[in-house]
């Protein structure tokens, strides 16, 4: 029994560490997500059986790959899909007749597969789910739990996406230079969405797989497969720097803790050091982009000894740069917040009107405005602005936080 359990553990570890690479290789051979997943599953079941009896083979990954390919051949033959799959079948039989593949000779197809899963023609959130399933090796059940939907609904979403990839002719390849920038943006966007999904869900971390960790792991894979890409470095840095501060973001009761009240001694120094070093490396390539700039801002926050001793002037400049790049009024809002710690709240308050219209339904806009008003000694107006922010708050934790801030507005008068 003990041995069977340890074989099970070995297989689990193997899947965790190498499953993404094996699955990506199968998918690119078979041009069929479902068939690849089913065949790998068959091979894993077979491994459980054989390895429990004979012990681990010398090259477990190569063993799994070879077995999965044979299982795929069986499945294609059984399903009588010769006509639609004849080319893939011939290629598989040829691969199978080659002498046993060395593990490092299994070509890593993950990069191409990441681009397939994150193709801009697919729905963004579905891209995230498909990437977690195909590259990170999460099960459909785990992904469903992460997105708080039923496993059936998630399975259907994945089926639809795979169907579109096959039917619409989305290529299994790394895009060429003419499309590189745009396609990389889509990949980075999907990774960041994964991270933010995990960040928003951190209060029930016990129930949901850690999407933040998965996003960081995926970004590391992407960077290892295609190094020297400054925006990938920027995104990895940004996530590391955010994640370093996650232990102090919420208090014991799950209420948001403002940056100025967070215990900086509990921030993860190793992650901050890695993130800050990555930002520097990226910026020295002189190809700036939005992720690098956001990471630079996060590094300034993370490395500041205190809230008061933060490089607010530099942060304001970086937000101005971001706004010039993307014209997102949220960047302008953040610039005004940073500026308020350099030049006082009144100046920022006056400039806030310029972005009032596009941010009218954006909770943080009203919270920021309330803060500027309170710090300018206009408590009654501040309370009204907090009421608007509370009305727009999406979660209980946010409402609780804003009510507390509202209660403190008069103290600053």
């Amino acid at each position: 029994m003990a041995e069977a359990a340890s074989i099970g553990e070995s297989i689990g570890r193997l899947v965790r560490n190498d499953g993404g690479r094996l699955l990506a290789n199968l998918i690119s051979n078979l041009r069929d997500f479902q068939l690849a997943q089913d065949s790998l599953q068959d091979a894993l079941e077979s491994a459980l059986h054989h390895w429990a009896r004979n012990g681990l083979p010398d090259e477990p990954s190569a063993w799994l790959m070879r077995t999965a390919r044979r299982k795929a051949i069986d499945r294609i033959r059984r399903a009588a899909r010769f006509r639609s799959k004849s080319a893939e079948l011939a290629a598989l039989i040829e691969l199978d007749s080659e002498p046993g593949p060395e593990p490092d000779l299994i070509p890593d197809e993950r990069l191409g597969l990441i681009f397939t899963c994150c193709h801009p023609a697919l729905d963004r959130r579905t891209s995230v789910a498909l990437t977690l399933r195909s590259i990170c090796g999460l099960t459909t059940e785990e992904i469903a739990r992460a997105f708080v939907v039923t496993p059936d609904a998630m399975a259907q979403r994945l089926v639809r996406a795979r169907h579109k990839i096959t039917k619409a002719g989305i290529a299994y390849e790394v895009p060429g230079p003419e499309a590189w920038g745009e396609r990389l943006d889509a990949v980075l966007g999907a990774i960041y969405l994964t991270f933010n999904e995990g960040y928003a869900a951190s209060s029930d971390a016990l129930l949901r797989p850690d999407l933040c960790e998965e996003a960081i792991r995926l970004c590391r894979v992407l960077l290892a497969l295609r190094p020297d890409e400054p925006e990938t470095e920027g995104l990895l840095a940004l996530m590391l720097l955010h994640h370093a501060r996650s232990p102090t973001r919420l208090d014991a009761g799950g209420v948001v803790v403002a940056l100025e009240a967070q215990d900086r001694r509990r921030w993860d120094r190793a992650r901050i050091a890695e993130g800050a070093a990555l930002v520097e490396t990226a910026l020295r390539r002189f190809r700036p982009g939005p992720y690098q700039m956001q990471a630079a801002i996060a590094a300034l926050h993370a490395e500041a000894p205190s809230f008061a001793e933060t490089g607010w002037h530099e942060i304001a400049l970086l937000y101005a740069g971001l706004f010039a790049l993307q014209q997102n009024p949220v960047f302008e809002l953040n610039r005004l917040v940073a500026l308020s710690y350099v030049a006082g709240p009144e100046a920022s308050l006056a400039e806030l009107d310029g972005i009032a219209a596009p941010l009218a339904a954006y909770q943080p806009y009203h919270a920021v405005r309330a803060d500027f008003l309170a710090r300018s000694g206009r408590a009654t107006e501040a309370e009204a602005a907090y009421d608007e922010a509370i009305r727009l708050a999406g979660t209980e934790a946010e409402q609780h936080f804003l009510r507390r801030k509202r209660g403190e507005a008069r103290e600053q008068e």
Partner: protein, 120 residues
């Protein structure tokens, strides 16, 4: 693979016949079509008369029912199409983006079913 690029534009979004911009707009269609032909991706293409000339029909209980106008009551109407032969969706999208109608309306790219590749 064959892809159809369906061009949807709103009634007054493209330059009108007789206006100063009409000539250059049509010329841009010619340029695009020539490019598609040179690159050997063009299968066929047609422009449609305006949607007010459309008739929609249904056969119900063996009886033909006709209606004046297009099937969908949306602001943007089908105005024409291209059929491309391309190896991947990315290429089809790259060519579809060269259709002048994409700059004033929207282009829907859909793969065309290849019945010879269906499973037995």
């Amino acid at each position: 693979m064959k892809y159809i690029a369906l061009i949807y534009t709103a009634a007054n979004s493209a330059p009108a016949y007789g206006s100063a911009e009409f000539g250059p707009y049509m010329a841009s269609y010619n340029t695009a079509s020539e490019r598609f032909a040179t690159d050997r991706v063009l299968v066929s293409a047609e422009a449609l008369e305006e949607s007010s000339t459309a008739t929609t029909l249904r056969v119900r209980s063996g009886k033909v029912e006709t209606m004046d106008g297009p099937f969908a009551e949306s602001k943007e109407q089908l105005g024409g199409f291209y059929i491309f032969e391309c190896p991947t969706l990315d290429e089809a999208i790259r060519y579809a983006a060269m259709i002048p109608g994409a700059s004033v309306g929207a282009v829907e790219v859909r793969p065309i079913v290849d019945f010879s590749k269906l499973p037995a």
